[in-house]
């Protein structure tokens, strides 16, 4: 904290400027959140006439009531929960299994197995072949179109591999001497030691599936199958498409603005609520991945 050498005048000026700059960073980053919350509680007329910035104007909760009384919103919200839970579970199992295999340095063919995964970070089939494949597999309008194509993230895989490699080999060797199977070792010895990294992976996957929209947008044809992100996307797209005739559809457009703000708040709320608790897991996960990326 306190350095032995007395800081120079120039350095103290720098410290002050630095504090100001960083405060500006904080304010600029937070402002869009504050603005969206303010709009979500504001009256339509106040939004339309451009009065809302930091504080709600014409405070009301009717827009919230309006959005929350839409059964399609809740159907889509429930879809997001279901897709996220199923996808995260499958992703965790596949990633854990493969990362464990890749962490075995003496395993023959390990380099090839790593290469198969890493190559896909730099080269992929592209949108069209993926679309054609998912359609050909008959996965359109099913949960699998969202869950399976992104089941393993290579980044997460490498994070987990790095963690498994950092575990002491003696533990598993002892288990092997006792005649425990590989499955038993993984389940009873390795995984209980890996709770922190498992939690990190769970969060990485859950947040990314919660936030994803494009797979749902691309592969779901019926509204009752959409995740809530697609529900929100359609609100936004409606607003941009309609904004050509600014004057004629002014009222509907601005109602959409309030509704958009509320939907944004409600979609993001779960993430904002857990964020303070999960942030450090994410940071440690990224660091772990960086150690041996």
């Amino acid at each position: 904290m306190v350095t032995a050498i007395r800081p120079s005048r120039g350095y103290r000026v720098f410290q002050a400027v630095n504090a100001v700059v960083l405060t500006v960073v904080v304010v600029v980053t937070l402002f869009p959140f504050v603005n969206i919350v303010a709009r979500s509680f504001s009256g339509e007329r106040e939004i339309r006439t451009g009065q809302v910035s930091v504080f709600p104007r014409g405070f009301n909760v009717t827009t919230y009531q309006h959005v929350m009384s839409d059964t399609m919103f809740w159907t889509n919200y429930r879809n997001t929960v279901v897709y996220t839970v199923v996808a995260t579970a499958i992703s965790l199992v596949l990633t854990t299994c493969y990362a464990y295999v890749l962490s075995k340095r003496q395993l023959k063919g390990r380099g090839l197995l790593v290469g198969i995964a890493v190559f896909t970070m730099f080269f992929n089939g592209g949108l069209i072949p993926n679309y054609v494949l998912i359609s050909a597999l008959g996965m359109r309008n099913t949960l699998w179109a969202i869950v399976l194509p992104n089941a393993v993230s290579v980044f997460n895989l490498l994070v987990m591999k790095a963690f498994f490699e950092s575990l002491p080999v003696e533990l598993e060797e002892a288990a092997a001497v006792d005649g425990t199977t590989t499955y038993g070792t993984l389940w009873r010895i390795v995984l209980p030691l890996s709770k922190a990294v498992l939690a990190t992976m769970l969060l990485f996957y859950a947040v990314s599936f919660w936030n994803s929209w494009f797979a749902g947008f691309l592969y779901m044809d019926r509204q009752e199958l959409f995740p809530v992100t697609v529900y929100l996307r359609n609100l936004i797209a409606g607003a941009t498409a309609g904004s050509d005739q600014t004057t004629s559809s002014d009222t509907t457009l601005q109602i959409a603005a309030g509704i958009q703000a509320v939907t944004i708040v409600l979609t993001t709320l779960p993430i904002l609520l857990v964020y303070p608790f999960i942030q450090r897991y994410f940071v440690s996960g990224v660091m772990l991945g960086a150690v041996k990326g």
Binding site: I5, N18, A19, V21, L22, V25, V26, V28, T29, P32, R48, T49, G50, S53, L94, C97, Y98, V101, K104, L107, K108, L113, I116, T120, F122, G125, G126, L127, I128, P129, N130, Y131, V132, L133, A136, L148, P149, V152, T182, W210, N211, S212, W213, F214, T229, V230, I236, A237, T240, S243, D244, T246, Q260, A261, T267, T268, I271, Y275, F282, A290
Partner: protein, 308 residues
């Protein structure tokens, strides 16, 4: 020759016999990579073949380079290619150096709570859905949004930013900066903690001031991280935030906003010209791969560190 092949086969057999349980754990993940990663790569064959929707996965018959010739002589393709380079270049120009600067500033903060606050707040946008980010952007730049409130306050006319081709790049890059810069500091902050404090001590003894210490000790200390991230950034250069552009653009802003990925999305999935779009996509992927390999090679030769 003979014996070596023989021993290799025998050791493989021994490896499988010894580690079959381990290999069995790899089966499902490998199936995933085969079906959802490598099969689509093969699916790019339709770029060289006539494909009809609902027909054979790999197309009906060979047409050679017809679709490649088609897009290379398509003026819209060159338009979106240019847009991609410009948006990708601007993104790299801002989103690569800013996290380094922010990390260096954070590293100088001696007030613990301020550092923690800045980190917590600046990481937050990373956790938002791209749809939410797009929604926020559209509200802020809308006719009644805060930017226009500011313009009106200083006596300017309101601007319909989202319909102005001239503003698209600014909006896109600003939102990208907002969303990625904070999170981008993590790796640099980690690298900064690994720099040997003795080096700073020595530099001070040699009479180096803070600025020179940063230049001669700090920056070289985080150089491997910088190189790694630069190589990765260059690799994703052409894939510029497809989803974000798709959410933020509209026909009025196509002249500046339309990029390769959004164009091939419209041509392929919206209009149904799958083979044509696949040809464009393959072109993009191959250039992307070449960029990563090239950047990696260059960084190994110039600064002596590389991704692999």
């Amino acid at each position: 020759m003979e014996p070596s092949v023989h021993t290799r086969r025998r050791t493989w057999r021994a490896a499988v016999r010894r580690d079959w349980q381990l290999y069995s754990l790899a089966v499902l993940p490998l199936l995933f990579f085969a079906v959802f990663r490598y099969l689509p790569m093969l699916g790019n064959l339709i770029a060289f073949r006539r494909y009809s929707p609902g027909g054979d996965l790999f197309g009906e018959y060979w047409v050679g380079l017809r679709y490649f010739k088609m897009f290379l002589s398509d003026p819209t393709f060159w338009q979106v290619f240019t847009n991609t380079l410009v948006i990708g270049g601007l993104t790299l120009l801002f989103c690569f150096p800013l996290p380094i600067i922010l990390a260096l500033l954070l590293n100088e903060v001696r007030t613990r709570w301020l550092k923690g606050l800045v980190q917590t707040v600046s990481y937050l946008p990373h956790f938002l859905s791209i749809v939410v980010v797009a929604g926020m952007v559209l509200q802020i730049v809308s006719v009644n949004g805060v930017v226009n409130q500011g313009l009106l306050a200083v006596g300017q006319d309101a601007v319909s930013f989202i319909q102005e081709p001239g503003w698209f790049r600014t909006i896109y890059v600003s939102s990208e900066v907002w969303q990625t810069v904070g999170w981008g500091t993590i790796l640099y902050l980690a690298a900064l903690t690994t720099i040997d404090t003795d080096l700073y001590q020595q530099a001070r003894v040699d009479g180096a001031n803070r600025w020179r210490q940063t230049w001669h000790v700090t920056l070289p200390g985080i150089r491997p991280t910088m190189v790694t991230l630069l190589v990765l950034n260059i690799g994703t250069f052409l894939a510029v935030g497809f989803e974000k552009v798709l959410l933020l653009y509209n026909p009025l802003t196509y002249p500046t906003a339309d990029v390769i990925s959004t164009y091939l999305y419209r041509v392929g999935i919206v209009s149904g010209s799958f083979s044509y779009a696949a040809a464009i996509g393959l072109f993009e992927s191959v250039i992307g791969l070449a960029l990563v390999l090239g950047a990696n090679r260059l960084s190994r030769r110039v600064v002596g560190s590389s991704l692999w």
